[in-house]
Amino acid sequence: MARASEAPAASELSGPAQHGLELYRRMLVVRRFEEAVQALFQRGEVHGTTHLYIGEEAGAIGVCDVLDERDKVAGTYRGHGHSLGAGVDPQALLDEMLGRETGVCGGRAGSMNVIDQAHGLIGSFGIIGGSISAATGAALALQRQGRGGVAVAFFGEGTTNHGYFHECLNFAAVLRLPVVFVCENNRYGEFTPFEDVTAGDIAARPQALGLPTETVDGMDVWAVREAAAAAVARARDGEGPQFIQSMTYRFVGHSRSDPAKYRKPGELEEWKARDPLKVARERLAEAFGVSGDVVDGVDAAVAEQFERIVAQSLAAPYPTPERDGAREFAPSTS
């Protein structure tokens, strides 16, 4: 391990070290974004409800890192990480959370329903399973279009008990669709431990349908990325649907009103010891010789970025019914 005084500055990094630092930065952007949403919710600037991805950042960032402009992503109502992973501009996303006209969906969608076609985010789905069917359909289109695109569905372990899960995995398997199903197992379906309501082994379900299935440490962005790279490559090569179970944990309640009193004693602390940002920091130092000072520099830059983003969101205009000009139907025909 390099001593701090000998470690290169961020600008001098290259190859795996530079890439690793970038993965860390993207996870940190998700973390700071979610913290901003939480703070703004408490100020009454974010409305309704919101579901935060704090603790689960390695999932979306690790998977999306192996995607390219041909690919499509479908996220969930806990979808801010999926959106940012897909490349949605944090400013446009926060503006959406605040219901502003400059939001990625003009303030029409809100936290649970974000769509950003320009970045391959075909949607965020407020009812579990929607992401699975949307990605299955996206994969159908990508397969027919023949340009090697792959669709990714993010969903939680609770969704593996849903009709969409069973129907779509089978549908995708018989059609050999290029889709990667990413089950983010954060151990709780809303307020209920998954083992209380889930029979058997989740990974055995896709395996029974013949899907290559890998369970990975969802707190380690490199482990997630490696599994995703292999799965996406197989899907691109025409090997059909793939399945990843990413073992993770949310550090916050299910939604804004949930104090998460159902956690087992000591469980949160145990998982926080494996905070994906902490894991990444340690790995950057040990495996890539990136000094704490360099990582601190990234922290400072992201903190400064979010000060600007939050201020700009708060100053952004609300949509008005007069300007909205909503149309029930798309006016065009083919």
């Binding site: 949607g123 009812i127 399973g129 069917s133 159908l140 089978n170 083919s334």
Partner: protein
């Protein structure tokens, strides 16, 4: 004289022509490809267009509809078949929560052009869960269009229009019409219809009857009987149930001053109530009388005499019209 066209052949030909016209169109569902459909409406399409365009699926309505939505927002123009309209509740999330909201929620980034074909309607002794007309379940879903043709020519022209429409369309095919044969060009041979336009299919001065699909034929038959009584019905084939062509009905009512809305479906909460409300709001002064004829608020019975009595067929229309205005027509 134009050749006769069978309703099921019209469906098939519309699909065939649109699959040939636009390579983004795909068609899938249960037993639709190699078997050619349980109502024999889609034979030969698999052979003509190949497995990539026309394919059979598992019996998985959630997956079929959700996948159609996902494919539509990624550039395909899927047509799916939900075998019986009674199965549409299984497809509802994809249609209602995903496809129909996408244009608005995305701030008009992209539409979700799917066509959901489904066989609906009673009279075939199929029992309560293969006979429904679930229009009202979808009637108050913004962003969704609902089409229900009454003739082979309309079936073809409206299905082609539905496939070319950028919005999600529920395309309802009354199962009692599949064997109907009529002139291919009986309405001027228009190739692609305009969704949302009703058509007056019989002129009359005394009463407007607004309806769709198989009920149009019942209304026309009733009109012949009533004409012998000196009562002249004007029959408006709505053709589209969302959006409703309210101006066309108002124009007819302005002439007849009476409106009967005929719905094959339960009275309470049906689409007929919506049409009556709209006409009342826009043309109350033109109306001397307005009422609905629908089914009782019960499931469709199986036994033939019970089902025949349950449905608002020709005899029920004639009796209702005579009872309602027989004495008032000069």
């Amino acid at each position: 004289m134009a050749d006769k066209l069978e309703f099921r052949r019209a469906i098939r030909d519309a699909l065939d022509e649109e699959l040939a016209r636009d390579d983004r169109v795909v068609f899938f569902g249960e037993d639709v490809a190699k078997p050619g459909g349980v109502f024999a409406a889609t034979p030969g399409l698999y052979d003509a267009h190949g497995e990539a365009r026309v394919f059979d699926t598992p019996i998985s309505e959630l997956a079929i509809t959700g996948a159609a939505f996902g494919a539509a927002v990624c550039g395909l123009r899927p047509v799916i078949e939900i075998m019986f309209a009674d199965f549409l509740p299984l497809a509802m999330d994809g249609m209602v929560n995903q496809a129909a909201k996408y244009w608005y929620l995305s701030n008009e980034q992209a539409p979700a052009p799917i066509v959901v074909r489904s066989a609906f309607g009673a009279g075939g002794r199929f029992g309560a869960i293969h006979s429904q007309s679930p229009v009202a379940w979808f009637q108050n879903v913004p962003g969704l269009k609902i089409v229900a043709p009454s003739t082979p020519a309309d079936a073809k022209a409206l299905l082609k229009a539905a496939i070319r429409d950028d919005n999600p369309v529920l395309f309802l095919e009354h199962k009692r019409l599949y064997s109907l044969k009529r002139d291919a060009g009986e309405h001027g041979g228009e190739e692609v219809a305009t969704i949302g336009e009703a058509r007056v299919v019989r002129s009359g001065a005394d009463l407007t009857v607004a309806t769709v699909a198989a009920s149009v034929h019942h209304a026309l038959a009733a009109a012949e009987t009533l004409a012998a009584d000196g009562i002249e019905l004007e029959v408006v084939d709505l053709r589209t149930l969302r959006p409703l062509d309210v101006p066309a009905v108002v124009a007819s009512v302005t002439k007849t001053n009476r409106l009967l809305v005929l719905e094959e479906g339960p009275l309470t909460g049906g689409w007929a109530g919506e049409l009556v409300a709209r006409v009342g709001e826009e043309a109350l002064g033109e109306l001397d009388d307005v009422w609905r004829l629908a089914t009782d608020d019960l499931p469709t019975p199986y036994s033939p005499p019970l089902e025949d009595d349950f449905l608002p067929g020709v005899e029920a229309i004639v009796a209702a019209v005579r009872a309602r205005l027989g004495a008032r027509v000069a």
